[in-house]
Each structure stands twice: as structure tokens, then as C-alpha cells.
Amino acid sequence: MRWLRSSSGAALFALALLLAWQVMADHKIISPVFFPSPSRTLGELWREIRAGELWAPLGATTLRMFYGWVLASLLGVAIGAAIGSSRTARDYLNPLLEFMRPLPASAIIPPAILLLGLSNEMATAVIAFGAIWPVLLSSVHGFSSIEPQLLDVSAALRLTRMQLLAKIAVPGALPDILAGARVSLAIALILAVVTEMQASQPGLGQNILLAQRSYRSPELYAGVVTLGVLGFLINHGLMLLERRLLRWRPAIA
């Protein structure tokens, strides 16, 4: 009951904001060119859905994000496992990575264009470069914090290195890796949109930029709303997946 009351308050607040916006735009108190009324934005979104115009750019952006993220995750877990389980690898690689990590990922777009052209490979490389850090850092943490007792057990059982990896190291590091991968996916979406805007790759990013250039502002807002929904869905989707994959683990907190 209390839940109902508080959530209805929240819904009322959101509706009131949208309604105020609608009324002000209808009466031209705020410029409908810059702030088109919510009904026009949603109408445009609905029209795109019905005409089937939404799916191609949405699919292109999602796929671009996904490729870059998969590449980032594979590389991140591999490098993270090496650094996390070997002191030597850490000594050799850490300073280089410490320098590259704070570099704004979009800053490698110009060199990437120069080397790979305005291509899908370029976009994938840029996305992978930017999205690798959370998953890399979290898998370093995951692999370096394996219980010493488990290592003793594996030595007593004479597990080979592969067995140790598959049975102890990876399951132990999985919670960290998944948490990192979720942050990485959010970054991958951002960079997918950036590469579409800067390098004219087809997708939602390019669409909203083109909508802005021709002052089709309802279309611009519809694109922003779509990206927001996409961002929300991927975040919650991965959280659900995380919970499923980690069900074997007793709840800690």
C-alpha cells in the first residue's frame, strides 16, 4: 500500500513535468523549435516504429556497441587474467596501461580514422579501446584476489594450470568480471554513438545529428529518448544476467 502511494507520487511528478512542458510548448511559452512538446516527440517515435524506420538505425547502433564490447571483454579478461595472476606481467604492462587508461577514448578516433578509414573496423577498435578498462581492472582484481586456501587445495589435488583456471580462477573472478563488463557496455554504447556522429557511420547517433542539422527537433528528441531506453535496457538486462549467473554464490552483503 505504501509502495503504491509512493510510486503513484513519483508517476504524478513525472506526468506533471511532461504536462507542464506540453502546455508551455503548445502556447509557445518555450520555443517549439527547441523544445517540441512531448506529444510531438512521442508521435514521431510512434510514427517511426509503425513505418519500421526505427529498427535499422537501432539495430546498427546496438550491433556496433555489441561488437566493440565483445572484443573489449575478451581482451580485457585475457590481459586482466595475465596481470592479475603474474607479478612479472604486471611489472611489464602496468605503467603502459596506467598511461593509456585516463586517455579520453574518443581521442583515439582521429588516429583510428587515419589508420582504418571511416569503417566498421575503426568503430569497433575505438569502442573496444574505450570499453576495455572497467572489465580489465575488475578482472585484474578478480584474478589477484583468489583465496590462498583454494590455491593450496588445487596444489593438493594436483590440478593442471588449465584446470586451475577453469575450476577456481574463473568462477572466483566472475563476479568482478561481470560487474566490470556492465560498466564497459555503457561505455560501448556511448562510443558507438560518438563514432556514428564523428565518422558518419549509420545508426542512431548519425540520425540525431542529421535531425539537428535540418532542425527536425521532434526527430532529434525521439532519437535521444530511444538512446535513453536502450541505455536503460542494456544496464538492467546485464544486471538480470549477473544475478542469474551468480545464483550459485551465497549472498554476501
Partner: protein
């Protein structure tokens, strides 16, 4: 000593072989340039002041956006943190706005403000606002309830309550959000410039690339890397030294 040597080994090998392969004509000069040319281009860029000007434009936008986001985030964060009821009403709207990637707002900001500092600044504000807001709400929630009771007993006004109780008690944790936000501000500033805003280091790199000056482009890339790295190190130092990272330490001196 040994570790420093190991850390420098791979970058050194890469640089030397890059230079050597480039001089041997194996690596193409027009896309990869070469380390000696990059150093020269960077030196020229600093000598004529163009890199410093671009750096200032980028840093100016990042800091302005960050400052506005910090003021808004802490203000609304304190209000929402003090009133759980209000937070329940406003929270879902915030949760709905948060997943919008800040870069999706670049065209919108351009529509509203045109090219320049303002459009870049507002995108940065949007990106930096959420970490500060959420951390501030959590920090204010975490304040010892007896301190808030005390402020009620002493009948402190809002400003006095803010200055004497809330900010000192919550600032340690808020600083974590500020740290995250300031790194974000630099990244977003460069991104906006790379995508379309004609100012700052990001734009400088795009122009260097398009006018076929790869040496200057790589020099600016290295410079950006150094900036980001220095910012990171500086933030880690200040955070480690922050008075009473937990809540109570800073309080004791004040009470």
C-alpha cells in the same frame, strides 16, 4: 629499480622499432608518422602557443561544466538526501534521465546554444551531474541522525545547518563523486570537440588529421594522455589526504 626498468621496457622497444621501421620505409609516414617527427611537431605546437591555447579551451569547458554540475548536484543532493519522501517522488524521474548517454545530447545542445563554450559546457554538466547527485544523496543519508537532531535542537537555519553540520559531515564521501565527475568532465569535453565543437584539443586533433599532419595529431594525443594521467595522479593524492574520508573525522574539529 628493477620494476621501473621492466615498466619502461615495452614502451621503449615499441618506440625504437617504430622509429627504425619508419626510417627503413616499412611503416608509412603519412599515417603513422614517427616518434622523432612527433616530438618535433609537439615542440613547435608548444612554441607557437597553439597547443596551450587549445588546452586552455578544453580545460576551461571541463572545469566550467564540472563546477556547475558540482553546485547543482550537491544542492539537489542535499535536499533529496534530507527528505526521503521527496526523493521517492523525484527519484524515478532521475533514474529515467540517467541512462541517456551524454553524447546523445551533443546535437541537442548544438541546437540550443550553437557552437562554442556553452554547448560543450552543458553536455559536461549533464554527464557530471549524476555521479555527484547520487553520491551526495547517499552521503547525506549516511550522516549520524543525532547530528541532525542536534541542529534541530539548536534551531539552526538552513544556511547554518548546511555549513556547520551537513557539508562537513558529508564532504568526505561527496569528494568521491567529485573525483569521478572531474575525470568524466575532461573525457566529455574532448569528445564534444572531436564530434563537432570547433575549439580545444579534440578539434585540434581532428584538424591535424584532416589536413594530413599526423605528427601534430599524435603529439596532441600524447599530450592529452599526459594531461589525463596527471589529473588522475593529482586526484588520487588529494583523495588520500582528504580529512577524515569517513564521516566523523571532519566533524570532530568543527564541533
Amino acid at each position: 629499480m628493477k620494476r621501473a626498468f621492466r615498466g619502461a621496457l615495452i614502451p621503449a622497444i615499441l618506440l625504437v622499432s617504430w622509429e627504425a621501421l619508419s626510417r627503413a620505409g616499412i611503416l608509412p609516414m603519412d599515417t603513422l608518422s614517427r616518434p622523432s617527427a612527433i616530438v618535433r611537431a609537439g615542440f613547435n605546437g608548444f612554441a607557437d602557443g597553439s597547443i596551450l591555447l587549445a588546452t586552455w579551451q578544453t580545460v576551461e569547458a571541463a572545469l566550467t561544466g564540472f563546477a556547475v554540475a558540482a553546485i547543482l548536484g550537491i544542492l539537489f543532493g542535499v535536499i533529496l538526501g534530507l527528505s526521503p519522501r521527496l526523493e521517492r517522488v523525484v527519484g524515478p524521474t532521475v533514474d529515467a534521465l540517467r541512462p541517456v548517454p551524454a553524447v546523445a545530447l551533443i546535437p541537442l545542445s548544438l541546437l540550443l546554444f550553437g557552437f562554442g563554450l556553452q554547448m560543450e559546457g552543458w553536455v559536461i554538466v549533464f554527464a557530471c551531474l549524476w555521479p555527484i547527485l547520487l553520491v551526495t544523496i547517499a552521503a547525506v543519508r549516511g550522516i549520524e541522525p543525532r547530528l541532525l537532531e542536534l541542529s534541530r535542537v539548536l534551531q539552526l537555519g538552513f544556511a547554518a545547518r548546511m555549513r556547520k553540520i551537513i557539508l562537513p559531515a558529508a564532504l568526505g564521501r561527496i569528494s568521491v563523486g567529485l573525483r569521478v565527475a572531474i575525470s568524466i568532465s575532461l573525457v566529455v569535453a574532448v569528445t564534444v570537440e572531436i564530434v563537432l565543437n570547433p575549439r580545444g584539443l579534440g578539434y585540434g586533433m581532428i584538424i591535424a588529421q584532416q589536413t594530413l599532419h599526423p605528427d601534430l595529431m599524435y603529439a596532441e594525443l600524447v599530450w592529452l594522455g599526459l594531461l589525463g594521467w596527471a589529473l588522475n595522479v593529482a586526484l588520487e593524492r588529494t583523495l588520500a589526504r582528504w580529512p577524515g574520508g569517513s564521516d566523523s573525522g571532519a566533524m570532530r574539529g568543527r564541533l
